[in-house]
Amino acid sequence: MSDSRGNPADVAIEPHTSGEAPTLEPGQTYASVTDQISAIVLTRHTPKGWFVGFGISFVLLMAFLYATAYLFAKGVGIWGTTIPIGWAFPIVNFVWWVGIAHAGTLISAILLLLSQDWRTSINRFAEAMTLFAVACAGLFPLLHLGRPWVFHWLMPYPNTMDLWPQFRSPLVWDVFAVLTYFTVSILFWYTGLIPDLATLRDRTPSRFAQIVYGMLAMGWRGSAVHWHRYATAYLLMAGLATPLVVSVHSIVGMDFAAAIVPGWHTTIFPPYFVAGAIFSGFAMVVTLAIPLRAVYGLQSFVTLRHLDNMAKIILATGSIVAYGYTAEVFFSYYSGNPYERYVTINRALGPYAWSYWALIACNIVTPQLLWFRSVRRSVPVLFVISLVINVGMWLERFVIVVVSLHRDFLPSAWGMYYPTIWDFVHFVGSLGLFFTLLFLFIRLLPMISIFELRELVHETEEKA
């Protein structure tokens, strides 16, 4: 077995450039992509930055667990959540995390169905991002239940109370949607990992790692017959995941739209939530991809073409979101309903006007910079824009949840919302959970799909 990079037997490939930046930098071979990506997990020393990042995330995760223990002991009164704002930070965080999750599925499933070769280098960690974001999202409604220890009442099962969940409620649909989404995302992610786990099994020098990766790879041998069924299953699951993503965030939108609260009761919510989800999710993928490619030297796999394309999708979905905001304003006027009209006036001029204008600045004004090619190809600028959009999408959910609830029909029922320290601990702590899982993933599993990169080398070579 030779481990040298420049093995003459390896097929050197030509870049296929048609005015575009390449999806894969030239000069890569089957062996070189395999060795470079698996070396991140197997041989190379863990970078110092990993320990720093993991340490910070882990501390935040501990803070999250501490806050959760305190919440279980004291109840939801430790948060600022109170009538009339019965849904506050937890639901804002839930919708924000679920939204972020969607880009991972979009990249891996929809771009696979559309045969977009630029998906290859980013789909694996985008899928991992999906899983971890859904895990964060799922915790918030549970914590918000008030009695989280009876969460299983949400599921239909024969019980001594002789009761069923209310299946006509979007909140119950949401339980099914999010759980299905989480399960299907795990299956899809694991399916993609099986051949790469076999690669790690075959390449690790450590006996222990060989056994662990070997068990996880389940005896994968790369047989042509297996590949045939594998590719069929992968494509089928992509086809299933695509409408699933749309359904999940539509149902999250219906959680609001089915209520009669002014500002929630609109038909535009489901599609506008889906567009917003993709918008924020791609922003998060960019936020994660830029430091990863810099720290691990993956510039030849995650190229400017990837960043450029993702920026274009952010711009496109951002425009749909902007259309959604405009439609909301228009229909509140056109409905002729004084309560609907007041929602818009209150958003723009009320006590929470700062959040509305900050959201407009983050989600509508900032993405306009992405019309410029130079901005899309400038890595630091793109990184900052992606952070701004992440903040903006959090604010959007804040505006929808808190600002709609704080003044509904009767002024006697109005109130203000003041988050407590625990609201912030839970939010920042969920970031800790997300990044702890992400750092472990980067260290233990290949963050770029190795076998798909080999396939890309093969295709690039055929095109040349």
Partner: protein, 181 residues
């Protein structure tokens, strides 16, 4: 140990190639020579290899369809049973069988059923998990997950003989290994 045994047949003979195209050409030749119990091993799904082996396409799509139908039916029946039979609640005379409200959960569980069928069906048809396989006895086979392409003609093929099959494969590539069972 003990009494001398008859020489055992190997699992098969394994030929190593450096190019996918060479492997496909070799499979075509082996198929023309009459070999059927053979399989190709590649680091990524190689177009044309499966067809060259002369196998029938997988029935996994049908299985997935069945999984989806089962998931959807179970979901709809559960919703109907809970809302109409087991726990009917009359809310202002609204219909108990309110099917539009049952669609989202039916859809979700259809997707779930189909995905389970696709995932576990793929594993089951592939015979995975399969921790031990004779091919893992060949050290060079580790490269099947990196940059080499393999063809294995199995001993259970009626045309297989140690010498003839080896000669046949050695005419195609210099690297031929015997796979111990």
């Amino acid at each position: 140990m003990g009494a001398p045994q008859k020489p055992k047949l190997p699992y098969g003979l394994l030929a190593e190639f450096e190019q996918g195209e060479a492997l496909i050409a070799a499979v075509h030749k082996a198929y023309a020579a009459g070999y059927r119990q053979m399989n190709g091993y590649t680091p990524f799904p190689l177009d044309g290899l499966f067809e060259a082996l002369g196998r029938r396409p997988t029935r996994l799509p049908l299985l997935t369809l069945a999984g989806g139908i089962v998931g959807g039916c179970v979901a709809y029946f559960m919703l109907y049973y809970a809302s109409v039979i087991s726990y009917p609640i009359n809310v202002g005379g609204r219909p108990l069988h309110s099917w539009p409200a049952f669609i989202p959960i039916t859809f979700e569980l259809t997707v779930l059923g189909a995905s389970f069928a696709a995932f576990f069906g793929m594993l089951a048809l592939n015979g995975l998990p399969h921790p031990y396989h004779p091919l893992f006895n060949v050290p060079a086979f580790k490269l099947a997950s990196r940059d080499r392409f393999f063809l294995c003609i199995q001993a259970r093929d009626p045309l297989f003989t140690r010498d003839h099959t080896r000669q046949f494969l050695e005419a195609l590539t210099p690297k031929v290994y015997e796979v111990q069972p």
